[in-house]
Every structure is written in structure tokens, then in C-alpha cells.
Symmetry: C2
Subunit: 427 residues, 2 copies
């Protein structure tokens, strides 16, 4: 297909006419489709329906004690071992929380705001104008946490190797920049994987704030679409990498089984070096009796090691892969060559991120909505919901059915093209 | 038995000799008993072993949606209805959390410290010298929460009708007094029940801080030892009582199933008036994806209404009652009339609270420990662990077996008597 940018006004008008006709057809279909939700579909959830089966005939005993009673505040040892193997860290540096890793992140930041980090001069809440780096596009709930806790959000462009490290290294010279979000593999929503060089530069860079922290949200580190290991994102282990460069306290790492077993009924965990971990534990022991150990026990029985997780994740992949491939195929067929949009072909994660023609994303979403196809609001992937390019749109193909995806992505593609054509004609 | 206070020195010395002989006998028994733990015994926990049975054959559907997926942040409606019936409030004012109600309380207070209450002039963290009322003896984990979040802890004596209300009404004239802990039925550890008059005075009193809050921890409100309703503690519904006096925002109420189903793997909840509830929800929606809905679903299936909870609690009572009665019988037999100690006979809850002869509690505990019988450290029931009378000791009869209780409480009673005799002889 010829690039819109190279078309004459006449060609563009013909294209507009053709696209408008397709829009009219869509209108007659009375569609009602939802592509907003980055959540598992029922078939994926059913993979874990049997998690609790037979538990009543067990002795409810972990090597840590009776899982039905009080105690074991950092989590049962069997599950800490699973996360330790998964994240490649010491099991004694694993803290098991309830289903929401977001909750662990919020609480970690809340502690820093109220009490400070172990190496802080004062609680972060006392630092006026505190700032936080936000790779973009990124995860809206991350941004909302730092916004709510009083940070100014500084966007940093993300590319296929991770955040723009030249910019990051410059920004952290500001002592008010206290930390940074990261979803290193696969980035949300692009599905990029931080390169080893990016990880090394993050681990080694000089920061003006000596208590600078990276929130390493490993939400999707086992969420591959392909069994072939050469098609799987890989990361260096970040705790030891930071330690290697003398910045052992720099990183908190988070993970959860929300998109492995059941969303928000999984188990979440964090790890950090001993100083961070002990400081966290001290407050956590006041805050809570501990996380649901029946859930921990069920998880440790259902997914007793990393191999079990990997095998289980391939069942998810078998459900998700066709949905991702179909989405990408339609985008490819409709949009490649037009220069109306670009996108990444992720090897894992939950999203496909499309950059539409600059200045058109809001209009595309509105047009889709009018046709009965809901997409995540434009701008959602940027701090304060403001995409300066008005271009990025997050597609979530996991939840809808194959037939819904087929219609929705076609509608989407046509809207992307039509708005691009109109934008160029306006100029 | 004759009061030690009325004995001659000669009589006391004879008593000391007799008691010392019993201590020597205890030494030969090489005891190893633990009376420290206010937690359910295995038989109680087994009452809920079948909670998850058959769930895999269900459709995992709540009227609120698929419980296996994201969403429903305030909790599934079926479980909110159970708590609403239990606490006698509107289901739309119930927020379901994970297993730890302590976590809900900590987070509620943390929000007040960082963001302020909806009717605060500023975040409580900005109020230097902020204070919190702590009825004593009370729950050490409550006290630790307020201590950690920067409050000065002000003890208020608790009697059989609740806290000393004359003192409370005087103390709340200080604008730095921002709130108060309460375990109204049954108080921890005495097992007292706040009288209706106490509740009315709490609801109606004038406080200098217009954003004063009562944390109404209804941990034991269905934890009766007797089926006979005349032997069950009862409370007025505190939210509407506060509203009746124009103080609708005064109270947060908490409850959980930790001592109903499985400790720390239950579900917790809080309720408050709409202004408090909406302000809390706003931050909670940033903090967390929501509480474990598989656990919520299992609870709603297992305990679908208040009658089911009451029936289940009577099974607990059948296990606990003999332990409480045995403890009280031994205390009675050994100590009544001596004036060496006094105690309440609770109708519910998890503890028996013994006030030993003033200035002897620490010594009693140390003496018991030497004999292989562990009790909660003296002072644990007071702010900062400091009992000014050195008198209160908390006995937890739920976990040990009947035969362990028999030995442990005898040892305890003899130690209480011996230290009292020695104290009087010293004077």
C-alpha cells in the first residue's frame, strides 16, 4: 500500500471515500465490542479452576507450620522458594503478599514517603517537588500511585531497548528525582524487553539522590507467547547487577501470579537486598498479620517450581497466541505501508501498542466508540493521561473472542486510516 | 481461703513454705507449655477445612461478576451482604479486604496521616504531638500501629462497662487527641462489653478535634462462649448511633473472619459513613486491585448469612468453652479469697485477663518461664509495653490442650500466690 504521505490530494480523497463506505457498513452491524481490558479470558482462568481441589484431604502443613493459623508473616517457605527460583534470588529475601502486586508497590512507596528509605536523610514526604521517572508509554496504575503520593511525573520515551538511557542519566542528576517505574519484560503496552545494556546502565548510573529507587515490576517475565526460547524475552537478574556496581539498595523487584492463576486472587511477592528487605519487614510486621496462607498453600501445591509455572504459562500462550497473531495480521494487512500507524510485534505480555498518525488517537478512539467498539482512552498510557503526540493506543487482545477481535481490529484499522487521511488533508 | 492481706507474718511464712514445695514439685515435671498464643487450636481450624470443596464444579460467578478475574474492587456483593447483616449496616458501605483486619486499620490510619480525613484541616502527619487514646489493658498490635504512625499513646483505664468515660470526655478536649482504639465486645484481654451508656457517650461526646475518629474493632462480636443469648455480649450499632448525635463521621468499624474460618486466611471488612467510605475508596482504588475474590467466594458459599456464622461460631464455642471454664475453675480454686489476684469471667473473646498483686506480674511471668510455662510478657497489654501497676497478665486458653491448661494454670496460680506472699512479707 502506498504511503498516505506520498499520496496526492486526489488520491487521499478517493481513499477517504472508500474508507467512509466501510465505516457506513460497520454502522449497520450494531457492534458492541470491548478491547479495553487487559485481563485474562475465561478459558485462561479455567486453567486454574482445580487449584484448591483435594486440599481438604491434606494436612494443611507447610514446612513453615500450619497454614490455617496465624504466623509465618513473610510467607510459607515452599512458595518463597518458587518465587526465589523464578526471580533468581535468595528465598529469604522474598516477601509474599496477597494477590495485588500493585498493593505491594503502593505500600513500598508509602513507607518511603512516611518513614524514608534506610539510606534516606528524611522521609520522602518532606521533599517538596519530589519527582519520579515514568517510561512512556507505560502503565496508568503505576503513574497514578506516584501521582497520588505527591510526585511530579517525568515522562521518558521508551524504545525497543528500554527507556532512553541518555535522558535517564541526565535526569537523575536532579536530587529531587527519587525513583523510576520499570516493566522491563514485556513493557506495558509496547511489549519491548529492556536490553542488557539498558539494565547495566540503570544499575550503574550515578544518581544525585543517594536513596534513588527503581521499581522493577516483573509482571510479565514468564508471560511469553512462544515456547521457542529464542523468542522469549530475557533479563539479567537486577538485584545482583545493582550490587555489582555498588548500588545494592537501588531496586525493589515485584512479581505476581495474577495473570498466571487467577487475577487479583493470586499471590504477589517482592524482593530486595537485605537492607531494604529488613526495613520493609519492620513496618510490614506492624501493618499486617500476613498474607492469605491458604492461597499460598494452594499456589505452592499447584505450581511447585519454575518448571510447573513455565508449563502452565504455555497453556496460556496457546490461548493468547492466536489472538495476538490475528490482531497483528489485521493491522499488517490494513495498515502496513500507509504510514498511518506503527506498532511492535510483542513476544509476550498482554498488549499491542499502536502509534497512530500524530494528533489522531483521541479521534480514533471516539470514532471506534461511536461504532460500538470500546478501546482504552487515548492518553491512558501517559502520566496525567496526556499523550503529547496524541498518538498511542493500547489494544488488549486477551479477553475478547477471536471473532470479536477480527471485527474490532478491522474497525480500528479503518478508523486509524480515515483519521490519518483527514489529518493530512486538513494540513 | 483467708486473704493474704489479713494474714500474720507467721501465717504468710507458712504459706510461702507450702507454695515453695509445690514449686519444687513443678520443677521435677520438666514442663514445656505455651499459654502465649491468642490463636485458634487445630480442632477449631478443622471446622473450616471444607470451605473450598466443590468450588471447581461451580461457575465461579458472583452477581458482581466472574470472581476469578479483575474487578469488583469493594468486594463481591454476596459477601458484602453477609457483613452488612452481621454489622447491621448498608451493604454499599462495606469494603472487603484480605484476611488481616489489622491491615485495614493500619491503612485507614496511614491515609489519615498522609492525606487527612475528609473533614481534616490538614493531614494528621503534620500535627506535631498528635495523640491517641488507648483503653488499657488492650491489644498490643493496636498500640503498635499508632506508635509507629507517630502518635503519643494515652492510656485510659477500662472497666466492666468500657473505658472510663469521665476521663475520655476530659481528654478529648485536647485538640491533639485525634482518635481512640476500641474492642467493644469482647475487650481484649478482659472480655468486658461496652455498655450502651458508654457507646452513647462515645457517640455524643464533644471533641476538640472535629475530625476525631474511633476505631471500632469488632473482632469478637460473634465470638460468644454460650448459646444462651442472655449470656452474649450485645452492642448498639455504632455508625447510626454516632449519626444520631450529629457525629456521623466519627467511627470506622472493622471485622474479620480470622477467628471464624482460618486465621489470616479469612476475609476482613470495614464500614463507615458515606463520606469516610468514599474518601477511603478513592485512595484504595489507587493502592490495590482489590482483595482475593476466590477467598471471598469461598467464604460467601461457606457462610452465606449471619445465621450460618452463628451456627458455625457455636462449634467454636463448644471447643473453647471447656478450656475457658477449666482455666476459670483453677483460678477460682487456687486464688479466690487470697486477694493475690482478680480477674473477669468473660462470656466470649479469646482471653482471660488476670490482675496479680501490684508489682508482681513480671516476676510471675519469669517464675513461670523458669518452670517451662510460657505466658505473654507482662506489660504487653499496655502502650509501650509498660504496665504502671506491673499487674496485668493475659492468659490465652484457646490453643493449648485441656491437659496443658490444667498444668499451666496451676503453675501460674501458685506463682501468683508465692510472689504475692513475698511482696507482702517484703513490705
Amino acid at each position: 500500500m502506498k504511503s498516505y504521505k506520498e499520496m496526492t490530494a486526489e488520491e487521499l480523497k478517493l481513499e477517504r471515500e472508500a474508507l467512509s463506505k466501510r465505516i457506513e457498513q460497520f454502522k449497520t452491524m450494531n457492534l458492541k465490542l470491548d478491547m479495553t481490558r487487559g485481563k485474562p479470558c475465561p478459558e485462561q482462568l479455567s486453567l486454574s479452576n482445580n487449584m484448591y481441589v483435594g486440599m481438604e484431604d491434606s494436612d494443611f502443613k507447610s514446612a513453615s507450620g500450619d497454614v490455617r493459623n496465624y504466623g509465618i508473616p513473610t510467607g510459607i517457605v515452599e512458595l518463597r522458594e518458587v518465587f526465589a527460583e523464578w526471580l533468581n534470588v535468595d528465598k529469604d529475601l522474598i516477601y509474599i503478599g496477597n494477590g495485588s502486586s500493585l498493593n505491594l508497590m503502593f505500600d513500598t512507596l508509602m513507607r518511603a514517603v512516611v518513614f524514608g528509605e534506610h539510606d534516606s536523610e528524611k522521609p520522602w514526604g518532606q521533599i517538596e517537588g519530589r519527582k519520579w521517572l515514568c517510561p512512556v508509554p507505560g502503565y496508568d496504575r503505576h503513574f497514578k500511585v506516584t501521582e497520588t503520593l505527591g510526585f511530579e511525573l517525568i515522562p521518558v520515551p521508551l524504545n525497543e531497548n528500554g527507556p532512553d538511557m541518555d535522558m535517564v542519566e541526565e535526569l537523575v542528576k536532579d536530587p529531587k528525582v527519587l525513583g523510576m517505574w520499570s516493566v522491563p519484560c514485556y513493557t506495558n503496552p509496547d511489549g519491548f524487553v529492556y536490553s542488557e545494556e539498558t539494565c547495566r546502565r540503570l544499575a550503574s548510573m550515578k544518581t544525585a539522590a543517594k536513596d534513588f529507587r527503581i521499581y522493577w515490576d516483573n509482571a510479565y517475565s514468564v508471560h511469553h507467547l512462544y515456547a521457542d526460547e529464542s523468542k522469549q524475552g530475557k533479563l539479567p537478574e537486577m538485584l545482583s547487577l545493582c550490587a555489582e556496581y555498588g548500588n545494592a539498595s537501588r531496586v525493589y523487584e515485584f512479581a505476581s501470579t495474577s495473570k498466571i492463576t487467577h487475577a487479583s486472587s493470586g499471590v504477589a511477592a517482592f524482593t530486595a537486598n537485605k537492607e531494604n528487605f529488613d526495613a520493609a519487614k519492620k513496618i510490614l510486621s506492624v501493618q499486617t498479620i500476613g498474607a492469605n496462607k491458604i492461597s499460598q498453600y494452594a499456589h505452592a501445591r499447584f505450581l511447585p517450581n519454575l518448571d510447573a509455572i513455565k508449563a502452565h504459562m504455555m497453556k496460556h500462550a496457546d490461548i493468547l497466541r492466536p489472538k495476538f497473531e490475528l490482531t497483528l495480521d489485521i493491522l499488517d494487512k490494513e495498515l502496513t505501508g500507509t504510514d498511518a500507524a506503527n506498532w511492535n510485534k510483542p513476544l509476550g505480555g498482554y498488549f499491542i501498542s499502536v502509534n497512530t498518525f500524530p494528533g489522531t488517537a483521541k479521534k480514533v478512539i471516539a470514532m471506534c466508540n461511536e461504532l460500538g467498539v470500546a478501546f482504552t482512552p487515548a492518553g491512558a498510557t501517559f502520566p496525567y493521561g496526556k499523550d503529547p503526540q496524541d498518538s498511542n493506543i493500547r489494544i488488549a487482545p486477551s479477553f475478547p473472542s477471536i471473532s470479536d477481535i477480527e471485527k474490532a481490529v478491522e474497525v480500528f484499522s479503518v478508523c486509524v486510516k480515515l483519521t490519518a487521511v483527514e489529518k493530512i488533508l486538513e494540513a
